[in-house]
């Protein structure tokens, strides 16, 4: 299970960084979403001693730490809001510049 989680986090990070570096803004935002998920998984895994036993069992030393789950919950809410804001700004930008290429959204220079 740990190996699987580690591999999943690594793969998500890799794909996310690759996507973020693309010139297409929409792909780039998808990379951002993936990055958020990779970080959430990482946070989740920091609290799981065994990773399988839920936080509220009586088996002390076996159970998962509940705090990272609270952190992840907060992070999910915030990332939902931020992705919404990014996408809404992207909507305005794509309507105005008629492109999804980052290099062409460049009126601010000087």
């Amino acid at each position: 299970m740990e190996l699987l989680t580690a591999l999943a986090i690594g793969a998500l990070f890799g794909i996310a960084v690759f996507q973020i570096l693309r010139r297409n803004v929409i792909r780039s935002v998808i990379g951002l979403i993936l990055l958020g998920n990779a970080i959430n998984l990482l946070l989740l895994s920091t609290g799981a001693y065994q990773g399988l036993v839920p936080a509220y069992t009586d088996a002390i030393g076996q159970r998962s730490d509940a705090l990272p789950q609270a952190l992840v919950l907060t992070a999910i809410v915030i990332s939902m809001a931020s992705i919404t804001l990014v996408l809404s700004m992207l909507y305005v930008l794509s309507a105005r510049y008629r492109t999804s290429d980052l290099d062409e959204i460049n009126e601010l220079q000087g």
């Binding site: 990055l35 970080i39 920091t46 990272p68 700004m89 105005r96 000087g110």
Partner: protein
Amino acid sequence: MDQHLALLPILLPLLGAAVAVLLRRRPALQGAWALVIMLSSLASSGWLLARVWSSGQPVVFQSGGWPAPFGISLVADLLSATMAVMSQTVLVAGILYALGSRDQVVGYPAFYPLFLTLSVGLTGAFLTGDLFNLYVFSELMMFSGAILTAISDDRLGVEAAFKYFYISLLASAFLLLAVGSLYVSYGTLNLADLAWRIEANPAAPLLPLAIALLTATFMVKSAVTPFHFWQPDFHTASPTAVSAMLSSVVVKLGVYGFLRMTTLLFVEQAPAVRGLLVALGLAGILYGGLSAAGTHNAKRLLAYSTLAQIGFILVAIGWGTPLALAAALIFTVNHSLIKAALLMLAGAVASRAPVKTAAFDVITGLGRQMPRAGVLFFLGGLALIGIPPTNGFISKMMLFRSGIEAGQFTTLAAVGLVSVLTLIYVIRAFQRIWWQPPLEEAKVKPVGDRLLAPALLIAAVLVLGLWPDPLIRLAQATAAWLGDPQAYVRAVLGG
């Protein structure tokens, strides 16, 4: 009751923002309400600072009554309280400017609530004693700032806000990664708890990663040179009342973060961070100064100048002696006042230009019709360069004295040489706007933004220049406090 005082500067604007949303159909009332709330919030943070300073002990609020490492603590020590007072002073001036502004954006129902949440995020990030809570507050600040810029009158606002928001999201990702790696190594996120655990076990394998990630995060927040590229766009395109906040107090979050990192969290590892800060600070002074001298827009010039001024602060933090830390704090406070005033003045000139922009092509010579703004800009410019009788002189003097005391003569010589650039770009802006004749028969609008807010800030600049003693003593007390991280740990954790 006493410890609840630390909550007020955060809670008041938050409640105020909620009520301001309800007042959205009464614009005049909403603006007045925002001003009243911001003023009372400033009063509460001033009270907090007075309490912390007179007692010599930080005010610690454990939310929900949970003792320190388990609950979220708000810690108002001298540094946090000073930063809170500084930022709320400038935010009050920002609301005053917005009330007298002729921008369309200040009429939007969302403007004042967002302005208040910006202040919540900023003050909260200064006052919190928990790393994850810092993330949440800085996120709130980032959202408010980005939306306020995206709705700017300038049609490029959306592009600038997108850029800023995107970069800041990446910075938040860094911060979350740092949170994760610190939590897995030490099992806590409370700053005081982290501080002693890191000191007890500095060999944790993920610690260097966490330090690097936190450094990168605060560099993005403060727009330090390699991470600065979004900053001039963002500060130019946002509405004047907002850009004056962004370029003065919002960028100070990173400065605060570096001060906390080097004096509380990573005391043993601080030399590496400090070396980096000196190098990047010097690069920032040079790059910001050169870019400011070469740009074609007054607001952009001031935004680039922020890069350079943050560089001075970083160099002082990098020297790291008590006197240098005091100098960094004085520089931080003074720069906030100066830069907010200057940006407001540039915005006021732009508001009377035929086309609403601060580009030199348009506003050259317009200043001849607004002599009062000229006097204020001249005084602010003197302060930015560092000429008496302004507070800018005090901050430069403290910086150079601390450099001599620390024996950093090479860096000091470089700083002194490069700070001549400040003189060049300030004179250039003043010359273009107030000395040169207008390019053609420009039609200046009869009314523009009111000059009350920048006038108040410039008055503060002069007062702090002529009577700097209280600020210097406060900064030295803060530096002495920062030199003893154990005291912080004891105050938060008890015992």
